[in-house]
Structure formats: structure tokens, C-alpha cells
């Protein structure tokens, strides 16, 4: 659990002129596990988040492989339907709340203070607390699998009454774990907002920040806005289950459809919480390896904000078939399609940044380019799903599964991996092994497309999601999907190998590890010393020459 990053020598601090200057004396960290339990250092906490997320990525991945193994051929093979339901549910919950979200928070912890020239996060102790809530939350969630009646089996969207009247007894534990994970995200969001707003280097305006900071700031606002709604929904569930209320129970005057409205009012901004930081990472990587400044920086910021605001007005596109009135169907159909506009602005800007650039294909760039192409495919199937009359056929089929896996796996997950490859030299002082990284990339790209592309066809042909068996005509698509899934899963072991090798050694990286990189994090030595920017750096804009002297 304790890899040797980041190195822990206060001496290195004083050798770097850019990173502080004064040789300050630091207390020695407590020994052993206490160092990690008590750390308030943003870099150590960032590493903890990333390691936790990687472990959870594998646990959630194993659940997915159980699902894919069962679906390898028609008929019931390996698991009973109840366990199959628990696997689909837990896969979704773990991947969303324990893998993707903590990975982005980890990257934010590591990189935001470095990118804005701050010595640490604004609230370091809160930062420690918000991380250590996560293992508690997800150990609790995973433990429900061993309880009588099994773990959550109602899908990651936990629709009432499946999750209330008909839920397994362990649902109360599920609610508690989601509450804890929600508090963790909220505290992380408060910390990020406080850091970005108050701790930028002197001279750095908001519109000078790297886009990763911008997208995370907007993501943090989304978290503040919708995590309390999630907390409210699961509290209502808790009261329906244990205290005899009828929020979602028609017998007592409640309404199960209300659950879906409340859930998706949280749930749709939540899907942008999982993709906006990815936009930020890709917007850092593409200019670096195209050796051109990002095209349309301001429009990127406004597009991100537009996506965030629109996300509050589209939730019912998840509910086109619950019996909405025609006016609501049309409203949510049009607002959903409107989101394609700011998203299109982003894709346009990335492509224009690449246009006539001096492009090289280092591992982070490979993942970033795959992100642009494959995320756009996911975006297109999203536009198809937005068409209300068409959605009546696609709803709850594998087409939906294909859509959101395209935006989440080669979308969010590839962006996280791109970010890891991009910043590993800064974290460890070594470049990741290029050959292995290329193997990882190509196996992942082929695996991901083999897994999810056939799901489009299976879904269009009518295969329903969340069912452990299927009609014979879907057999070939599912066979390909399952093979692809195992290939993708296995190729992530290569990723682990790359990271471990990179921590242990490899080609040494200079402070500015990538030729085209310009942001502030590349001005501190590689590996980044434990304490950086204790004296704020002087920030110079790229276009400083054009501006009058302050």
C-alpha cells in the first residue's frame, strides 16, 4: 500500500529554486501506516485516491467479467439470476462511485495545487478525512454481498420500489455506504473550490488557469449542487424502508415515478461529473503533443459551463417511457439535443488544435486521441437516444449499455489513463515504459471496441439489459462482447505493470518532461518534491508581452 512516491526528502526542496527557495524544516512524517493515515499532503492524498481507485477499478472489473462470462452464451451457465443482478448493480456502483470519481479527485489533488502554484489544498485535514471515508464506504458496500439476502440487486439506479419494498435486507447498509461516499465527494468538492478560488499564484486570473482546473471547478459546483439531492433521495428510501413513510409507495399516496425524477435530477449532472474533468485532461494533453496552444481556450471554458448548466434541464430523457406528457417529452428531447452543441464545440477545438500541429504519439497522446474518437461515437449514440420517439425502442436495451460504456470507458477511463501517463514523470521522476504502454493502449482500444461495439447491434435488435439470459439470435454479438471484455480486463494488468515499473525506475524525466508542456506543474522538479510552491511562483501569461505592465 505504500509505494515510494512521492520521495520524502525535505532536502530536495531547498535544491529547487522554482519550488520555494527557503530551506524550511519539516517534521519527520510518522512511521509506517500512520504516515498514510494522517497525511495532509495533497500529493500523498492524491496518490492514495489513485491507488484506491485502481483497486476498485479491478474489483468492479471482476464483477463485470462475471456478468460477461454468464452472457458468453445463451442459457444459464455460471451464476443464478439473483447473483447476476447483484453483479450488474455492484459493477455500476463501484465503477461510478469508487473508481471513476475518486480517480478524478486523486488527479485533482495531485495536480490542481501544482497547476495553480499553491502549496497545498486549502483544507488539508479535510482532504485527509474525505479520502479515508472512501475505504469505509466501499468496504461496507462490498460487505453487503456476504449478508443474508445478498447485496443490492436493483441496478445501479436503484429505482423504487425495487430498492424499497422489494429490496434485500442489506439495502440499509447500501444507503449508509452511499451516504458516506457522498459526504466524501462533497468534502472533496468544497476543498477544490476553496483551493481554486483562493490560492492561485499571484497574477493568475481565472481565465489563465489550465483547463483541468476549470473543468474541475465546474465539476465541483455540480457536486455541491447534486450530491445533496442524492443524499435526500436515499434518505427518503431509508425512511420508506424503516420508518413507514410513503415517499415512493403508491399505497400511501407516494409515487415511484417521483423517485426517478429525483434520482435523475442527481444522475444526469452526475454523468457530467464523470466526464468534465476528462475534457480538462484531454485539453492539456492534445496541445502538449501537437505543440500548439489549445485552440479556443475561452470557448472551452464557456462550453464546459454550458454543459454543466444544461445538465440540470435534461434529466427526464432517462424516463421517456414512464408516461410523460407530450410537452415534457419534447422539452427534454430538445434540451438534450442542445447539449450536443457545446460538446461539439469541444471536439471541434481539439481537432483544430491538432490541425497542422507537430504531432507525436507518446502514450498519453495515444489515449487522448482515442478519447476524442471513441467519446464522439458515444456522443452520437447519445443523440440517437435523445430522440424521444426512437428512445421508445432503445430504452433499456443493450444500445443504452453500449452508449454509456462508450462515454465512460474509452471516455472517462481512457482520459484518466491518459492523465496518469501524462503526469507519471512528474509523480515518479521516470518516464513510463513506452513499449509496454503501447501494448496497453492497443490491447485496450481493441478490447474496448470488441466489447461495446457489438452491443449497439444487440440493443437495436432488441436485447434487453440486466437479464442473465437472452434469445439465440443475440449469441454471436454476446460472444464477441465477452471475448473483448476479457481482453480489455487482462490488458489492464499491463497498465498496473507499467505503473509499478515507472515507480521503481525507468528513463529519468526532467522537470519539463514533455517538450510541448507549458503549465506551471512542469516548473517544479521531477519527481515533484513533497512540498512545492511554499513561496508562490510568479505567474507569467503566455501573452504577457501584449498586456500593459501591472
Amino acid at each position: 500500500m505504500a509505494p515510494k512516491l512521492p520521495p520524502h526528502h525535505p532536502v530536495e526542496q531547498s535544491t529547487s529554486a522554482t519550488a520555494g527557495g527557503q530551506a524550511s524544516v519539516h517534521h519527520a512524517p510518522p512511521p509506517g501506516i500512520l504516515r498514510w493515515l494522517l497525511t495532509t499532503n495533497h500529493k500523498e492524498i492524491g496518490s492514495l485516491y489513485l491507488i484506491f481507485s485502481l483497486i476498485m477499478f479491478f474489483i468492479g472489473g471482476i464483477f463485470a467479467l462475471v456478468v460477461r462470462a454468464e452472457l458468453f452464451q445463451p442459457g444459464m451457465q455460471l451464476v443464478n439470476p439473483e447473483f447476476f443482478n447483484q453483479m450488474t448493480t455492484m459493477h455500476g456502483l463501484i465503477m461510478v462511485f469508487a473508481a471513476v470519481m475518486p480517480a478524478f479527485t486523486g488527479l485533482a489533488n495531485w495536480m490542481i495545487p501544482l497547476q495553480i502554484g499553491a502549496p497545498d489544498m486549502a483544507l488539508p485535514r479535510l482532504n485527509n478525512f474525505s479520502f479515508w471515508l472512501l475505504p469505509v464506504a466501499f468496504l461496507l458496500l462490498l460487505s453487503t454481498l456476504l449478508m443474508p439476502g445478498g447485496g443490492p440487486n436493483f441496478g445501479w439506479t436503484f429505482y423504487a420500489p425495487l430498492s424499497t419494498t422489494y429490496a434485500p435486507p442489506s439495502t440499509t447498509f447500501f444507503i449508509l455506504s452511499l451516504h458516506i461516499a457522498g459526504i466524501s465527494s462533497i468534502l472533496g468538492a468544497i476543498n477544490i473550490i476553496a483551493t481554486i478560488i483562493n490560492m492561485r499564484a499571484p497574477g493568475m486570473r481565472m481565465m489563465d488557469m489550465p483547463l483541468f482546473c476549470w473543468t474541475w471547478l465546474i465539476t465541483a459546483f455540480l457536486l455541491i449542487a447534486v450530491m445533496p439531492v442524492l443524499a435526500g433521495v436515499i434518505t427518503m428510501m431509508l425512511m420508506d424502508i424503516n420508518f413507514g413513510t410513503h415517499f415512493f409507495n403508491a399505497a400511501g399516496g407516494g409515487d415511484p415515478v417521483l423517485f426517478q425524477h429525483l434520482f435523475w435530477f442527481f444522475g444526469h449532472p452526475e454523468v457530467y461529473i464523470m466526464i468534465l474533468p476528462a475534457f480538462g485532461i484531454v485539453s492539456a494533453i492534445i496541445p502538449t503533443f501537437a505543440r500548439k496552444p489549445l485552440f479556443g481556450y475561452a470557448s472551452m471554458v464557456y462550453a464546459t459551463a454550458a454543459i454543466a448548466i444544461l445538465s440540470f434541464f435534461v434529466w427526464a430523457h432517462h424516463m421517456f417511457v414512464v408516461g410523460l406528457p407530450l410537452a415534457a417529452e419534447l422539452f427534454f428531447m430538445y434540451t438534450t439535443m442542445l447539449i450536443a452543441v457545446p460538446t461539439g464545440v469541444k471536439v471541434f477545438n481539439w481537432i483544430t488544435t491538432l490541425f497542422r500541429g507537430s504531432i507525436t504519439f507518446e502514450p498519453p497522446m495515444l489515449f487522448a486521441l482515442a478519447f476524442v474518437v471513441l467519446f464522439t461515437i458515444g456522443g452520437f449514440s447519445g443523440v440517437m437516444l435523445a430522440i424521444a420517439p426512437a428512445d421508445f425502442q432503445y430504452h433499456d436495451t443493450y444500445f443504452v449499455v453500449a452508449h454509456f460504456h462508450y462515454v465512460l470507458v474509452p471516455g472517462a477511463v481512457f482520459a484518466i489513463m491518459a492523465g496518469v501517463y501524462y503526469w507519471l514523470p512528474k509523480w515518479t521522476g521516470h518516464y513510463p515504459n513506452v513499449k509496454l504502454a503501447q501494448w496497453h493502449f492497443w490491447l485496450s482500444v481493441v478490447g474496448v471496441n470488441l466489447t461495446f461495439f457489438p452491443m449497439h447491434f444487440a440493443g437495436l435488435a432488441g436485447m434487453p439489459r440486466r437479464i442473465p439470459d437472452y434469445a439465440l439470435q443475440f449469441a454471436d454479438f454476446n460472444l464477441v462482447s465477452s471475448l473483448g471484455a476479457f481482453m480489455f480486463g487482462a490488458s489492464q494488468l499491463v497498465f498496473v505493470a507499467v505503473v509499478i515499473l515507472c515507480v521503481r525506475g525507468g528513463e529519468r524525466a526532467p522537470a519539463k518532461a514533455w517538450e510541448g508542456a507549458t503549465d506551471l506543474e512542469w516548473s517544479v522538479p521531477s519527481p515533484a518534491p513533497l512540498h512545492t510552491f511554499e513561496t508562490p511562483p510568479t505567474f507569467r501569461r503566455h501573452d504577457a508581452a501584449d498586456l500593459p505592465a501591472p
Partner: protein, 199 residues
């Protein structure tokens, strides 16, 4: 973990202000989530969305009958979980002109050996017909008590409003039987009993 010299003696006021504001926003959004419950209810009642019907008796309005067209009003009855009652309707459907009123009898029967309280919860489909269906008298306005084996006939008196949108040719009224709180514990025990032994 920094030297006391470097540790800020008091928290950054900007950070404090940001934290206060975000916490206020958090509390506000949590309250908003709960406020959405009554808001949703009011919204649905006002607009008639979701087939939620007014549960108070309305007055018969004397208006000219539109005999240029017929509208079919269908009745569906069904049992929610946990109440051993039957609800039957004397006729599955009636044909009316908009503006006409009608009376239909429903028969409740308690098939169990205990006296229990139950309630029939109505729902109208399509939902934009909800506001155009006036109920002068309905068993769904109150809860019923049936002794063991008791059979009870209750009328529904309703009127189709003259201004029913022209595209609506069929209105479906669904009544779902639910046990009334108090029998809730029994329902809960049954539900968990059903799912309890799948390990």
C-alpha cells in the same frame, strides 16, 4: 506538517468565506430535494400529469352535451400487493358523450378471514384527460373497512367534461387496491420474507 513559522496563524478568510457559502449551498440543495416532493405533487395535480386525480368530490356541472362524438371510458381494477380483497366492476366500459355523467357500481369483497382496512387508489390515462374527469362521488375518496368475507357495493359517479380534448377517444380509469397503514407491518414482513432466503 510545515514549520510553525510557515503555518498560517489564522485561516485564510477567503477560504473561510468559500466554505461558508458552499456549505450554505449544500444545506439549501438538501432541503430542495425534500421540497421537490410536495412541489412535484402540486405540479402533477395542477397540470393533471401522471394521472393523479383530485381526491375530493366535485360538483356536477350542467353543460351542453356534445353528441357529435362518443368517448369510451374503461375501468380496470387490480390488486396491489398484500391485500386479500377483490374489486370488481359491473361493466368494463361505458360509452358517453362529453358532458354526460354516469354511475358505475364497484363491488369490494374481502376474501380473507380478518377484517381489514383498504383503499382504492385511482389513476387516469391518458394523463391529459385527468382534469376533464369530474368525480361527484367515489369510493376512492375514503378508506374502506371490510369484515371477513364481507361484500360491499359502492358507486362511482362521474362526468366527462365537455371540453375534453378532441384527440382523446378513450379514457382509462385504473383502481389499485392497497392496504391501509397499520396493515403495513404485515405487508413488509411478507415482502422481506419473499426475498429473504435467496443467499
Amino acid at each position: 506538517m510545515t514549520d510553525p513559522q510557515h503555518r498560517p496563524t489564522q485561516p485564510n478568510p477567503g477560504v473561510q468565506r468559500t466554505v461558508m457559502r458552499t456549505v450554505a449551498a449544500l444545506v439549501g440543495m438538501f432541503a430542495f430535494a425534500f421540497a421537490l416532493v410536495p412541489l412535484y405533487d402540486v405540479f402533477c395535480r395542477v397540470t393533471g400529469i401522471n394521472g393523479k386525480v383530485d381526491t375530493t368530490a366535485q360538483a356536477l356541472v350542467h353543460e351542453e352535451v356534445d353528441d357529435s362524438r362518443y368517448v369510451t371510458v374503461q375501468f380496470i381494477t387490480r390488486n396491489g400487493s398484500g391485500l386479500p380483497w377483490n374489486l370488481e366492476v359491473e361493466t368494463r366500459q361505458v360509452r358517453l358523450h362529453p358532458g354526460q355523467s354516469a354511475e358505475v357500481d364497484f363491488a369490494f369483497h374481502n376474501a380473507s378471514s380478518d377484517g381489514t382496512w383498504g383503499r382504492a387508489v385511482p389513476s387516469v390515462s391518458p394523463s391529459n384527460a385527468t382534469r376533464h374527469l369530474r368525480k361527484m362521488s367515489c369510493f376512492c375518496f375514503e378508506e374502506q373497512h371490510l369484515e371477513a368475507g364481507e361484500r360491499l357495493e359502492l358507486p362511482l359517479v362521474f362526468q366527462l367534461a365537455r371540453d375534453l380534448p378532441p384527440e382523446i377517444n378513450t379514457v382509462t380509469l385504473v383502481y389499485t387496491l392497497y392496504p391501509v397503514a397499520g396493515d403495513e407491518a404485515a405487508l413488509q414482513a411478507r415482502a422481506t420474507g419473499d426475498t429473504g432466503d435467496e443467499a
